[in-house]
Amino acid sequence: MASSTFTYEGISFNKEWAAGISEAEFVKHEKHHGLTATQLKEAYKLIKSEVNKAKKNQIPLDELPASTVSEEGKVITLEEAKDSDENPNP
């Protein structure tokens, strides 16, 4: 898959795709793999959790101090922001 994957019980799921649909849609769409509904729901929760965790590590552009916004206007991670504050001219 072009997008990043999350592997559950030997199946690589497209994380970005799964994060954009409901649990019911996910279960219905991926039921052919032979996993139980419970397993699919667990996979979905784990994917959502991982995607949400990644999102939390990013600071929205409008909440960034001006000094940490790149010239290209890119959103940077907390760690990058911290590094940038500690070492403004690396």
């Binding site: 898959m1 072009a2 994957t5 030997g10 795709w17 793999h33």
Partner: protein
């Protein structure tokens, strides 16, 4: 006062460099337009790493290198220099010699099919000799590149119970100056066992149920029904890697793959496309399924193969 033009015709000093480079016996040819910048060949290790990197590039990449099988015999077929003589016997050299060689290599019928794609082609080519010297030339940017050779491939004939037979590869140098004036040599630490080519493995349609496709991974051979299924060796290693799919004119429209799994019973991959996007495709729409590139496969310990895309039909 000068009385001759000898100082202006470009003669060069003729002092001998001790322990100078001399050609050995050819043991391998490496074909392709892969080039090496001065920073690449700044050290033996960086150059060798770059050679390996270019061997593992996907087919179609302009920097890819294709190693030929190890050479088992050489016949010098160099076109001799031509001379002419004046009436009283003074002999002149009219044209310099033209390097040309015939090499014996061991190649099975499956590999011969691949080698034939080089038959009759004029290609950049490096020659590795048994002194571990890789010969090429430099371009105007000081990049190390293969010199241009005309290549011929003759398949192994039937045996005659008298002499061993082999596949013959002939090469003839386009510009004789590339053999001397323009020649440069990289001394490599690589063994021929490290300079190996990739094998094509075809992603192959097996079956489908609406948007769920079963895909085999088969290495084609010249043997009838002899395609090799790499599933047992590599299926589980390939399944977690990145696959992509495209549809539309010239396959420029991405089609989302929602999951990839192994099907142990069928020894195949189960590739699922987004059902909404799939349903929206017209009947008989074509989908190009693309596997991970060789360097990604290699990093996942799937070595020596390239997955070849497959065109699927809705």
């Amino acid at each position: 006062m000068a009385t001759s033009l000898c100082g202006s015709v470009g003669y060069e000093n003729t002092g001998q460099v001790l322990c100078d480079i001399e050609r050995g016996n050819p043991i391998m040819m490496v074909v392709g337009s892969g080039s090496f910048s001065p920073s690449d060949y700044a050290s033996q290790s960086s150059m060798d790493a770059k050679i390996i990197e270019k061997l593992k590039l996907a087919n179609g990449n302009s920097q890819k290198l294709y190693p030929f099988p190890v050479i088992q015999g050489t016949t010098d077929q160099t076109e001799a220099a031509k001379y002419g003589t004046l009436g009283y016997g003074l002999r002149f050299k009219l044209v310099r010699s033209k390097p040309s060689y015939e090499f014996d290599v061991l190649a099975g019928s499956s590999l011969e099919k691949r080698l034939m794609s080089f038959d009759g082609e004029t290609v950049p080519l490096y020659i590795l000799d048994d002194k571990s010297q890789l010969a090429g030339v430099k371009d105007v940017g000081n990049n190390f590149i293969g010199s241009q050779w005309q290549v011929g491939v003759e398949p192994r004939p039937y045996g005659d119970a008298q002499n061993p037979k082999s596949t013959k590869i002939t090469i003839s140098l386009v510009d004789s100056r590339d053999f001397v004036e323009n020649a440069f040599f990289h001394t490599t630490a690589l063994a021929t066992s490290q300079i190996t080519g990739l094998k094509d493995v075809n992603l192959t349609y097996l079956s489908k149920a609406t948007n769920v496709y079963k895909i085999k991974m088969l290495l084609p051979t010249a043997k009838l029904n002899g395609d090799l299924d790499i599933y047992d060796d590599y299926g589980a290693l390939i399944q977690p890697l990145t696959f992509t799919a495209f549809t539309g004119a010239n396959f420029t429209t991405p089609l989302t793959i929602t999951s990839v799994a192994v099907d142990a019973a069928l020894k195949a991959l189960t590739v699922t496309f987004d059902s909404t996007m799939f349903t929206a495709l017209p009947a008989l729409a074509q989908i190009k399924l693309v596997g991970p590139i060789p360097s990604v496969l290699d990093a996942a310990n799937v070595t020596g193969i390239e997955l070849i895309s497959v065109i699927l039909t809705k």
